[in-house]
Amino acid sequence: MTELSDAPATAAIRLATTGGASVADYVEILKPRVMSLVVFTGFVGLVVAPGHLHPVLAAVAVLCIAVGAGAAGAINMWYDRDIDALMRRTAGRPLPSGRMMPGEALGFGAVLGVGAVLVIGLAVNWVAAELLALTVGFYVLVYTIWLKRRTPQNIVIGGAAGAFPPMIGWAAATGKIGWGAIALFAIIFFWTPPHFWALSLYRTGDYAAAGVPMLPVVSGPSETRRQILLYTLMLWPATVAPWLLGIAGDLYGGGALVLNAVFTVSAIQVCRDDGDRSARRMFAFSLLYLFLVFSLLLVDHAGGNWK
């Protein structure tokens, strides 16, 4: 008991002695790797949308999307510091390792989140600002606080937060939400479950130790593999939608079909493999897959295939 009640004080003294959290720690709690994907998909949404935005305001919009995503990441790290300490992958983060005080992370995240929403609202438009606020709120309240520790569907519903950035980019350029924005949202929404479940297949022990009810922990690896394949199949209509809706051209359509074929083969291999190898390969490919799908949209748009 004494040890527990003394822990925050000890951490505070250690932090005061070392000068507190470093700049690198502040950058780390923004989850820069997640942020890079968010920035890229948000940028693509902004570029392919049928609207015009001054380059400076476009840069501001992308910056605000990035900062908003970082803010959500920081608040997520603040809330999840207890379970992060129990998992190998996250134990070295600034909060569980004691390099940063919890209040610092929460304050940092809250200020950045509010700042990003206000700036995008004042500089670009309020539709984009509302979507950004919804994204941060959804990630923090719905995913982190409500679903993550309660249901194996955490990734499916919570994943919507990661699907909003291209929609924010689209709204920044057009001031509204069109079918194209919904199609881009659907691509990331259906991509998220196979991506995270492939990871959780070979990190089951970590999630079980932390009490996070990821699908492999609750329903076992066989059901997870089946669900991975199901969501991978749902990606076919989602990724082909921009092409069928006439908002992307044949270059994108052809490329999306090829990428889906490879991703589906990858999911089938995961279903047939009782070990970790295929899941690791699928997780790595899923990142490349999303990057290539959105790159194809960009290239297709640059090539003048927009209809």
Partner: protein, 39 residues
């Protein structure tokens, strides 16, 4: 002694980052204002 130096280094780096962020914000708001005023 070494701990004190490390503490100073950390604080100095953080202060510099804060200055960079503040200068960046000033430049950002200036650019936004110019663009918005330009119509």
């Amino acid at each position: 002694m070494e701990l004190e130096q490390e503490r100073r280094r950390t604080i100095r780096a953080r202060n510099r980052a804060l200055v960079a962020v503040l200068v960046g914000l000033v430049a950002l708001f200036y650019a936004i204002t110019i663009v918005r005023m330009g119509g």
